[in-house]
Symmetry: C2
Subunit: 334 residues, 2 copies
């Protein structure tokens, strides 16, 4: 079925209010989760909503809480998220990073004791809407083995680099695993192989077979040893700058993932590189890239963020595709 | 053969002076390039020295030049590198980012018209020595295809995340290609396969055969589409913030790679997260990771930066391993 963006927002917001959110927070979280689905980030949109409500009911995500400042010096600040809603906590922190960047050229916020921010790209787009470049990342529960290890002690710690353009921002949103467990599960049920190595089988050989990876639980870091290394660095930045939980500590908290640590940076680079010149430089770079020769006839080269705008256009017009069962479950929470 | 760290530095410095460097700059560049080899970064140390001298002789790397400030606002500044020596230009900019971070909590420098900085990790360690976290990246000539493309229009744009610890910094230094062309060439000559996919063959299939990849020139972005996406973001950050050359523009400059753009960030996070607590948090995270179960008996799990310290110790004691021919060529430049 397809649900209009407007109906999706209203339904989610109403449900959040029934489960303890104030009106403003409910509308913001509903907007962002509906928008995630609208823009093709289905796994972190409507499909994840019932889990968020369950987390609220369990008391591990606490509505009505805002981040509290713990320390600050110039353009860097440290907040405690009080186990509040991940979306509004993260939005608050990127907004504060943007404010600091207006004053200092750039700003950095470290946030501890927060919850899943849903789609990482959201906060990159937030910086871009303010005309700024953004970098942000989060840690997660342990869900990926260190390079050379068989047990999962690293997070897949999504990382965002976002660059604003009037013609459409370039937003890279990458988890440190090559595929999510969700994507492997979908492929396994469909009886499909992954297009590239997805992890290791139980004998330690790289494999594209999702069932083998789900059995071994040895999912592949993106870039093999490189993504594993970057995952650790992101965890240290987030955990140590916020004095919050690192991946291993998040893993020891009982119940569903909560209490993660995040970092948000905004860069008001137009103060040193005037917007018009920067825009032209970016346009030239992207034009050159899109002029690449496709390896296969009939395909085209896109930049990160381009496909999102197309999906958004289509889903605004036709409605957001939603699984019937998922939507029924949400209506039952209402 | 093995050359002592001291002899390597003295020889390189003397040669640089003969080719137009002042004493101070010669000693700094010689120190860093000898240190790269000392610490296992062989491709960006002594092995690359003859090429640097050739670039100086050709006039595309200009000794005696320092970055000149073009614009600044608070904690962000923009410099023109005047096509100077990449190592001293980059060192200058990270040093300035560190100064800005002392004042503002963090600092960012964008640098244009600079040259190859040799080992990317150098400037991450520089931030760590000042007790700060560092992020830096550079663009390069086009040397990697966009995802889905057959011609090379992206750079492999190395990225560094560095986190300081008294017990040894954690430094991730990753190019956006999975392997360098140099590594493929070495494997091809040795008749070896790469351990994982290294690129595409001429029919567009993923392959571990280095010869096939060298023939197709379709090297693999690290993380497949993810590294390709991140490569573009880094190019836009560096090129647009510095108003310098993007990858495509670097590719159009005649001769060997020159005139690249870079970004340097330093974060004085101990202002918001006291050193002792941050150090303990990092130690716990790393201890947990190193407690992973190795997938193969007899192997061990390391953190990024750990192996470097071991190689450094060995090469300090025994001397730096240097290819006879490479060293003879350097002595001929002297």
């Amino acid at each position: 079925m397809r649900i209009s963006f407007d109906e999706a927002q209203k339904t989610l917001a109403r449900t959040l209010v029934k489960h303890g959110c104030g009106q403003d927070q409910a509308q913001k979280v509903a907007l962002e989760m509906a928008r995630n689905s609208l823009e093709g980030g289905y796994t972190h949109g409507i499909n994840r909503f019932a889990r968020l409500v369950r987390n609220m009911d369990e008391g591990i995500v606490i509505p009505g809480v805002s981040p509290v400042k713990m320390a600050g010096f110039g353009a860097i600040e440290n907040y405690d998220g009080g186990m509040g809603m991940g979306v509004t906590n993260a939005w608050f922190c990127m907004a504060r990073a943007i404010e600091l960047a207006r004053m200092h050229g750039l700003g950095l916020i470290a946030l501890r004791n927060t919850n899943h921010w849903m789609r990482a790209a959201t906060y990159g787009y937030q910086a871009c809407e303010a005309g700024m470049a953004g970098i942000c990342f989060t840690n997660t529960i342990p869900n990926m083995p260190a390079w050379g290890a068989s047990d999962s002690r690293m997070g897949n710690n999504p990382l965002v680099f976002a660059f604003p353009r009037k013609a459409g921002p370039v937003v890279v949103d990458m988890a440190m695993s090559q595929f999510s467990y969700g994507a492997l599960e979908v492929a396994r049920l469909a009886g499909k192989e992954m297009p590239i190595d997805a992890g290791f089988d139980s004998r330690g050989r790289l494999t594209r077979d999702p069932g083998e990876v789900l059995a071994s639980q040895r999912i592949l870091p993106t870039g093999y040893w490189k993504g594993a290394a970057l995952s650790l660095a992101l965890d240290l930045f987030a955990g140590c700058m916020s004095l919050g939980n690192t991946v291993s500590q998040v893993g020891r908290l009982p119940g569903d993932e909560h209490g993660v640590s995040q970092v948000f940076m905004a860069i008001d680079f137009n103060r040193i590189a005037p917007a018009e010149q920067a825009e032209q430089t970016a346009q030239n770079a992207i034009d050159d890239l899109l002029g690449s020769t496709p390896a296969q006839a009939g395909t085209r080269i896109v930049y990160p963020g381009e496909r999102m705008m197309e999906i958004r256009r289509e889903n605004l017009e036709k409605g957001i595709p939603v699984d019937d069962t998922v939507w029924r479950q949400i209506l039952e929470l209402d």
